[in-house]
């Protein structure tokens, strides 16, 4: 993508005097440009996905048959499942959706030249990159962290994980968390203060609403994680006893702190996805979003309620029955705004003139599979049924439907939708559609049978399982192979686009694409919106 920016510099002589920027490694290491930093985040997510997906393929390979075939050390299995979780959450989904698309398109869509704090933007990225290095190291130093991404003590304390690996994982999350907090401050400041004249809050594109709400979730949730991690760090290294029953502490206290962060975290990953889907559905239906205000406030209410439902991850820890009753009710409430979003997307498409190009296929797939993953969420929100499903493959199936499928589908949606804007070239539409169908079939074969395994009671986080579970595990692993083909094809398409893609016009999507990023050239020049656009009428596809 570096090349394409250089082209932008030459192609748009009128911007020439503003386009002087460092070249080579200085351009990327010192970058304060929101587009370059967005690109860096996307590249980081792609690199991390090689590792994270690689680990999941190792797990599916081992699980294909009962017995231990490839991974003879169960601790190593625990290490890769931990690293898979941490990397996919903190270094693939978050950097792609928030750091990548957020940095690229917040300034472009609200009509301002750059983020409010460009230098802070730089340090946000490099803290995240350092975090990725630390989490990678945590798998190889000190025996590796085999704690699961939830890092529950006592398993994660010094007695049961004496090496440095858990400390590395903790520091990794500290760095990535600090980077995200700074990024969130940047996003909020930019969106509040730097919208183009006339773009009121109620005229912002829904992607901007999504990023705005996500930034608040980050800002409020991550400090709690940082506090909990610090306590765990001092428990491990300085003999404090926050989570240590023998010293008056309580391991359940960790779980409360972790999930107080952890549940908003799942909305941090899915609300940006909502934003992307809203833009794409509107663009390809050639219709404004249906129920714009309802959509915006549905996301806001999901964000607010998301902070008061954390203990539904802890229904089996043994707290009193009234507490569980509260968390059942609060959790089920979230289904209401989520339903509003689903039906509003359907209503946006209703009466539309839909072109099923690759981004729209992915958005369509997102909506359906998010419904499938969402309804199993309602099942799990009921504590009595959770007694059958907690820590089984049913839970794995549920959250992979909403994260591995839905959030990843949103990343693919955004990549295909905005690739012409980011690199100035068109992807191969035919290959893109093949890639969608291969991935769609693959992930469903991969994850749907895991519902059955969960129903039959197969626990998660085990490398070897009773022989009766063999059948569905083999099906699931076959699906993993198909999904891998889809993922590799995506990387080929990316490479093919950068190498051979046809030149993209400023707006390749036609009359449906009404947001401001389609008013600037493709690829977006190094500096954009130096003369602020003025929003006079109802904006950007939202009435």
């Amino acid at each position: 993508m570096a090349d394409t920016h250089a082209h932008a510099h030459h192609d748009h002589g009128d911007h020439g005097e503003h386009a002087h920027h460092p070249t080579g490694w200085r351009r990327w290491l010192y970058s304060t440009n929101h587009k370059d930093i967005g690109t860096l985040y996307l590249v980081l997510a792609i690199i991390a996905s090689f590792v994270g997906v690689g680990f999941s393929m190792m797990m599916r390979l081992e699980l294909a048959e009962p017995g231990l075939q490839f991974i003879h050390d169960q601790h190593f299995y625990n290490v890769i499942l931990t690293a898979h979780g941490l990397i996919m959450v903190f270094f693939v989904v978050m950097p792609a959706l928030i750091g990548g698309f957020g940095n690229w398109f917040i300034p472009l869509m609200i009509g301002c030249p750059d983020m409010a704090f460009p230098r802070m933007n730089n340090i946000s990225f490099w803290l995240t990159a350092a975090g990725l290095i630390l989490v990678a190291l945590s798998t190889v130093v000190g025996g590796g962290a085999g704690t699961g991404w939830t890092v529950y003590p006592p398993l994660s304390n010094h007695t049961f994980h004496p090496g440095m690996s858990v400390d590395f994982a903790i520091l990794s999350l500290h760095l990535a968390g600090a980077g995200s907090i700074l990024g969130a401050i940047n996003f909020i400041t930019t969106i509040v203060n730097m919208r183009a004249p006339g773009m009121t809050f109620h005229r912002m594109p829904l992607f901007i609403w999504a990023m705005f709400i996500t930034a608040f979730l980050l800002l409020l949730a991550l400090p709690v994680l940082a506090g909990a991690l610090t306590m765990l760090l001092t428990d491990r290294n300085f003999h404090t006893a926050f989570f240590e029953p023998s010293g008056g502490g309580d391991p359940i206290f960790w779980q409360h702190l972790f999930w107080f962060f952890g549940h908003p975290e799942v909305y941090i990953m899915i609300i940006p996805a909502f934003g992307i889907i809203s833009q794409v559905v509107s663009t390809f239906s050639k219709k404004p979003v249906f129920g714009y205000l309802g959509m915006a406030y549905a996301m806001a209410s999901i964000g607010v309620v998301g902070f008061v439902v954390w203990a539904h991850h802890m229904f089996t820890v043994g707290f009193n029955v009234e507490t569980r009753a509260y968390f059942i009710i609060a959790t089920m409430v979230i289904a209401v705004p989520t339903g509003i979003k689903i039906f509003s997307w359907l209503a946006t498409m209703w009466g539309g003139s839909i072109e099923f190009k690759t981004p729209m296929l992915y958005a369509f797939g997102f909506i359906f599979l998010f419904v499938v993953g969402g309804v199993t969420g309602v099942t799990l929100s009921n504590a009595p049924v959770d007694m059958a499903f907690h820590d089984t493959y049913f839970v794995i199936a549920h959250f992979h439907y909403v994260l591995s499928i839905a959030a990843m589908f949103a990343i693919f949606t955004g990549m295909y939708y905005w690739l012409p804007k980011m690199c100035g070239k068109m992807y191969n539409e035919k290959l893109g559609q093949w890639q969608f169908w291969i991935t769609f079939v693959g992930v469903n074969i991969l994850f749907f049978p895991q519902h059955f395994l969960g129903m039959a009671g197969m626990p998660r986080r085990i490398a070897d399982y009773p022989d009766a579970f063999a059948g569905w595990n083999m099906v699931s692993s076959s699906g993993a192979v198909v999904s891998l083909v889809g993922a590799l094809l995506f990387f080929y398409i990316l490479w093919d686009t950068l190498r051979n893609g046809a030149k993209a016009p400023a707006n390749p999507w036609g009359i449906g694409a009404t947001t401001l990023e389609w008013t600037v050239d493709s690829p977006a020049p190094f500096h954009t919106h130096e003369i602020l656009p003025e929003i006079k009428a109802e904006p950007a596809g939202h009435h």
Binding site: Q74, H75, N78, G146, T147, G148, P154, L155, T159, P245, D250, P251, I252, K287, P288, F290, G294, T316, G318, A325, I328, M332, V336, G339, I340, F343, S344, M349, G351, G352, S353, I354, E355, F364, I367, V372, V375, T379, N382, A383, P384, V385, M387, A388, H390, D391, F452, M455, A456, G457, M458, P459, A463, D464, P466, D467, A468, G471, W472, H543
Partner: protein
Amino acid sequence: MIKSRWMLFLFVLFSAGAIAAGAHAEVIGAPQPWEWYFRTAATPVQEDLIWFHDLIFWVEVVIVLFVMALMIYIVVKFNAKANPTPSTRTHNTFLEVIWTVLPVLILVVIAVPSLRLLFFMDKAKNPEMTLKITSHQWYWSYQYVDNGGFGFDSNLIPEADLKPGQLRLLDVDNRVVLPADTEIRLLMTSEDVIHNWAVQSFGVRLDTVPGRINETWMKVPAAKIGTYYGQCSELCGVNHAYMPIAVDIVSKQDFQRWVEQAKTKFASADDAAPMKVVQAETQSSIDAR
């Protein structure tokens, strides 16, 4: 669903017949190949749980099919060829109210039985005996506090030592033996890290947490006498996959006979003293009952 439960039932009957040749109790609560539904319920809690799950399940199936139908309609009617001119409608207050209120009503329908079941499954009302369960890396120990206070450890049978008919990764050297028709209080704690004592057929799945004692209950009717299996369900370290749970539900009389044998077999522990852990020699006493 009903059809599959019947097939499961027939399968269990059939396999039980095959196993009856040995001295083992009828295996009821074990996973079956290609299973895609719950194991047989053995307690009122699990029966209610399955009923309640099916209620939610069918509601969800209807929702998913409804959304799917709408999406198919959209693909057919509103693709660019079929409908070249998009409408511009962006509001319909009536629709928006409907799709907000209707989900609320559906959730209320789900919440009422959910809370009723939650309170029902929480604690025993009139427990007739108590089993204390302690988890360790990586085995369970059980203490019969109301039956003389004896206790024992329950370890996985390694693959190399399995006898024919025993299940890999599920069978243990000393099974828990519990009486049918008895309301049993289960108390659980852990000696080291957090584990989870889960037997699906009983509707029991509870964390064992160091420094805490968690409580739940179970009651298996005499009609469901047999063997049930479960596995540790909270990541607890290297051998997380190797600490299964196997429970024999026997008649009250058989249970009393077993208790007398077990008292001598497992050196009895003083009530006040911490549980004395004795390694088991064989499984013969259970098989011999």
